[in-house]
């Protein structure tokens, strides 16, 4: 029973219905009329209102007859009629027949003609009521038309209140990091004393230059060993220097066995007598 008519209802029906005797041709009038209705229910309501002011008093059978006549009239003029108007007309024919038929034929399951008529009357009344309420609502004093809100509500001043968050952990972390940063800043890397190989070689050359025989390297080193911290670097560099000098053939090295003291002597004496004192002296003199 839900019907469809895409046109907009614009409450023209009273005007249109009453314009029956105007100079319009009949075809025009009917076309305009149907366009003015929002579906069959609306048309029914229009026809009802034309007859009587009080819908509750209207005879549904009469109304059905009127509607069917109206549609037949339109058909006579071969006007295109939307399907739902025709469905309603067919339904009303059915309703009329039901109303005429004796009620004992009624089965319990299908509603009687009177019930159907009452239902239709109810729908018409409800639609009319809603239509009236819509108009009534619109007629009420309205905000912005008849009554007004404050023209310039100032609103409320918002003051942001900052709430600081901090956890004890954050605080401790910050403090610890700070302390560490500070102590790191106070630490100065002391310059390491490094005995370079070149230095060791120079020193060794001058010492060996004075020595004429095998000399234990520890003693040689001890003679120019500085601070204790420098001990390792001196030993390492001196050892490196002796190897370098031996490679160059400037000195000779001997060791009696693993972990035994190392002996060095100048090798510029051509003599094979490695024990020769004069040889090493001569070399040193050169």
């Amino acid at each position: 029973m839900t019907n469809q008519l895409p046109t907009q209802f614009d409450d023209q029906w009273t005007q249109e219905v009453s314009s029956e005797n105007d100079g319009m041709t009949e075809d025009d009038r009917l076309l305009v009329e149907l366009d003015g209705f929002e579906g069959p229910l609306d048309l029914l309501l229009g026809l009802a209102r034309e007859k009587k002011l009080d819908i509750s008093q209207i005879s549904i059978a009469d109304l059905a007859t009127q509607y069917i006549d109206y549609i037949n009239d339109l058909k006579k003029h071969r006007l295109e009629i939307a399907a739902d108007y025709l469905v309603m007309a067919a339904w009303l024919v059915f309703l009329k027949s039901k109303l005429i038929l004796p009620s004992e034929d009624e089965e319990a399951e299908s509603p009687s003609g009177d019930q159907l008529a009452a239902q239709l009357a109810f729908r018409l009344k409800r639609l009319e009521a809603m239509r009236a309420k819509g108009t009534e609502l619109m007629a009420r004093p309205q905000l912005g038309e008849d009554f007004f809100a404050a023209g310039s509500p100032l609103g409320r001043q918002t003051v942001a209140k900052i709430e600081y968050k901090a956890e004890l952990f954050d605080l401790l972390k910050a403090y610890s990091l700070l302390q560490q940063r500070q102590s790191a800043q106070g630490y100065k890397v002391k310059k390491r004393q490094v005995w370079s190989i070149k230095k060791a070689r120079d020193r060794l050359s001058s010492l060996l230059g004075m020595s004429i025989e095998w000399a234990p390297i520890n003693e040689l080193i001890a003679s120019f060993m500085g601070a204790e911290t420098a001990q390792k670097t001196t030993v390492a560099s001196t050892f490196g220097a002796t190897l370098e000098m031996a490679r160059d053939g400037v000195i000779e090295i001997k060791q009696s066995g693993p972990f035994q003291p190392l002996y060095v002597k100048s090798s510029n004496m051509k003599s094979s007598d490695v024990n020769s004192v004069t040889g090493s002296k001569e070399t040193a003199d050169e």
Binding site: F9, L41, R123, M130, G134, L137, L143, F147, P153
Partner: protein, 221 residues
């Protein structure tokens, strides 16, 4: 009117604290761009202050002034007195008039809420173009309330506080002729039994056969 005025003025409380609460409520409502709920007012005042009683007292004090204190679904606002409309025409906001269809649809939604589109169509006997509902939604007078617990879970529509404010209604029960229509059975009938006109309390919350719009899961089950 002036005698009434004097009377209401004489009712002013002599109790200073109460007077201050009245003044605070007055100022808060005045400053607010939107109607203020009793709850919102209560939050601003000391505990135990009988906000509703004070609001009613204020409303009485203003009842014959050029400004009225009105209640809109439990929210309060100052509005100019409707009888002064002719003097205030310069503030009129020219709005597009609602079409007849939209008016009718608005009335159906207001009187039948919560109502689905199919139910609106049942009352009107024709399909409702989505344009009509769009226009009404755009006015802010109606809203989608939820979904009906029924096959297809259709969306239910209802009116908003703005609707009440717009038409000077303090609650949905104040809709003109609501009780007569109810009495005549025009608001029920061929429609489901649950399809009844709600009282103002019911509007806030969903009905038994409604679910919230967000509650999509339930629909997919």
């Amino acid at each position: 009117m002036s005698e009434e005025r004097l009377e209401s003025a004489l009712e002013m409380p002599l109790d200073l604290e109460r007077l201050d609460d009245l003044r605070i409520i007055e100022a808060l409502i005045f400053a607010s761009p939107e109607p203020l709920s009793e709850q919102a007012l209560r939050e601003e005042l000391d505990e135990g202050v009988e906000v509703l009683a004070l609001l009613e007292e204020l409303a009485t004090q203003y009842s014959n002034r050029g400004i009225h204190l009105v209640s809109i679904d439990g929210k309060w606002a100052f509005r100019t007195a409707a009888d002064l409309a002719p003097f205030l025409t310069k503030y009129k906001i020219v709005k597009k008039k609602l079409s007849r269809v939209a008016q009718e649809t608005l009335a159906i939604i207001a009187y039948h809420q919560p109502v689905t589109r199919a139910e609106i169509e049942d009352v009107r006997g024709v399909q409702t173009s989505s344009g009509t509902l769009d226009v009404l939604l755009e006015t802010g007078w109606i809203k989608m309330r939820g979904r009906r617990r029924a096959p297809g879970r259709p969306i239910t529509y209802g009116t908003t506080d703005l609707f009440l404010d717009q038409f000077g209604l303090s609650k949905i029960d104040d809709l003109p002729g609501l009780n007569e229509l109810k009495g005549a059975g025009l608001l029920d009938g061929t429609v489901p039994a649950s399809f009844e006109v709600p009282s103002s309390q019911k509007l806030e919350t969903l009905m038994d056969d409604e679910v919230s719009l967000e509650d999509e899961d339930e629909g997919e089950e």
